[in-house]
């Protein structure tokens, strides 16, 4: 379970999060949608403890991330996978070394690391690219390598920051299937930040719209199609004229 309670966070006089509440049940996937610059990446970094909120609390299972000491946060992160929006691959290492580094830390037996890394790159369609360096990959391939690195240790909490942005529809559905698969296999609790409504509806149990620093709408993929909420409609249909002025 991931529970966020009243998160606020400002950068100078820019108030990004203004009382964000969300609870993601164990085994559930919640997609967070929202316009560019609304604070989705900032939100995800708070969940991971990479940023500290001005106020509010982040709970992972029955442990609090906010204010926890370094050791505790580190232990929690062993059960987390984070897909960075920018991929954040280690560029001095090959793709496979990136994945192996993740596996090594997570206590995978040395004999299995090689095999597991290859397997996990194959599931994102990067079989045969193990020896390449991140700089030699396309943007979408880097993104997928980032996904492979995050999911390889089979974490039970997964935070995806736009895992499918910049991917073609076929590869997108491949990643969607991976997200669903992990949910099934590990009962992973996930937050998926995305702009892609199709993908959101496919992988998420619930969808949350982040607007003005809070969850302005929360519902299932079925509900999102019939809602009257102007912002959601504007977002789903891609119509700027429907977007409520803030």
């Amino acid at each position: 379970m991931i529970r966020l309670e009243g998160l606020t966070r400002s950068f100078g006089d820019l108030h990004v999060l203004r009382g964000f509440d969300l609870e993601v049940a164990t085994g559930e996937t919640v997609a967070v949608i929202g316009r560019s610059g609304e604070g989705k990446s900032v939100l995800l970094k708070h969940v991971a403890g990479l940023l500290q909120p001005d106020s509010g609390e982040v709970w992972i299972g029955d442990e609090q991330v906010t204010g926890a000491d370094r050791e505790r946060v580190r232990r929690l992160r062993l059960s987390m996978g984070y897909v960075f929006q920018s991929s954040a691959l280690f560029d001095s290492m090959t793709v496979a070394e990136n994945v192996r580094l993740a596996l090594r830390r997570h206590g995978t037996p040395a004999a299995e690391i090689e095999e597991r890394a290859r397997e996990s790159l194959e599931t994102v369609g990067l079989g045969g690219w193990e020896g390449r360096y991140p700089a030699e990959l396309s943007g979408g391939m880097r993104k997928r390598a980032g996904v492979a690195r995050a999911v390889a240790p089979r974490p039970t909490y997964l935070l995806y920051d736009e895992p499918t942005s910049g991917l073609d529809p076929v590869t997108t559905s491949m990643i969607d299937e991976l997200v669903l698969q992990l949910k099934e296999d590990l009962r992973a609790t996930s937050i998926v930040v995305t702009h892609d409504m199709r993908s959101a509806c496919r992988v998420a149990d619930r969808i949350a719209l982040l607007r003005e620093g809070r969850v302005s709408w929360l519902g299932t993929p079925e509900e999102i199609e019939h809602t009257d909420d102007a912002a959601v409609k504007a977002f789903v249909e891609g119509r700027r004229d429907l977007w409520p002025d803030d």
Partner: protein, 242 residues
């Protein structure tokens, strides 16, 4: 100023604590020792070569026959071992090694690779800072030893080739005031410079913010600060140890 001192002290404590993560940094020590130490030997030798030549010529010029010429050996030896070997090498490596570390870690910071390390549950300082600082501590004295050897050999060849001094005379001057402590002093100094250059590079790299410009700023600062600290530390050792 107090804030900067506080942050620096906090960083030092964090790096020291990170040394307990042996399994994270140990595998990288050899690579870093090669990049920081072995790869620095040519430039250090190059500088020492010319320093040795110039020292020999200038001391003979300064003696003007009033001081016996074999003191050229003394002067070359003492100056290179005590001061120029460690300090010149330290300053040059502040540029070569310090800038390299600050730019590399700074780039990792602004491209979120440091965050990625944290998310993989590594201690970024154990992964990035500890192997570099340890490599600096171990390899700088070795690099300086090479430089000192080179400087003295260069001084000797210059003395016998260009000055009217025999090898025996040069060695006599060299040994006359030599004390084993000289070398120890040089090595202690060099080790401390190794720690300064690498940890200042790590500190500025680690605290980089703001894209390519931020990386540039961090790199410049790392070099300037490391050079200043080296000079201050040099004076400190002279006061404390001599």
């Amino acid at each position: 100023m107090a804030a900067v001192a506080g942050r620096t002290a906090g960083f030092a404590v964090d790096v020291l604590r990170a040394t307990s993560e042996f399994r994270t940094w140990w595998p990288q020590l050899a690579t870093q020792a090669r990049r920081i130490g072995v790869d620095s030997v040519p430039i250090a030798m190059f500088i020492a070569l010319f320093t040795g030549v110039v020292l020999a010529l200038q001391s003979s010029y300064a003696f003007t026959g009033a001081v016996p010429l074999y003191f050229v050996g003394t002067l070359v030896g003492k100056t290179i071992i005590l001061e120029l070997g460690p300090v010149l090498t330290g300053l040059v490596l502040a540029g070569r090694v310090g800038a390299n570390i600050a730019a590399e870690i700074g780039t990792m910071r602004v491209t979120e690779q440091v965050d990625a390390l944290e998310m993989l549950a590594y201690d970024p300082l154990a992964y990035l800072a500890v192997p570099r600082v340890t490599a600096g501590l171990i390899t700088f004295p070795i690099v300086v030893a090479f430089a000192v050897g080179m400087g003295i050999v260069a001084g000797w060849i210059t003395s016998t080739g260009l000055l009217d001094l025999s090898s025996q005379e040069f060695v006599r001057g060299l040994r006359m005031f030599y004390r084993p402590f000289d070398l120890r002093y040089a090595l202690i100094k060099s080790a401390s410079f190794g720690v300064v250059v690498t940890s200042v590079g790590c500190l500025f790299g680690y605290t980089t913010s703001g894209g390519a410009e931020g990386v540039g700023r961090a790199t410049t600062r790392a070099v300037v600060v490391a050079c200043m600290v080296i000079l201050v530390l040099d004076a400190f050792w002279a006061v404390v140890l001599l």
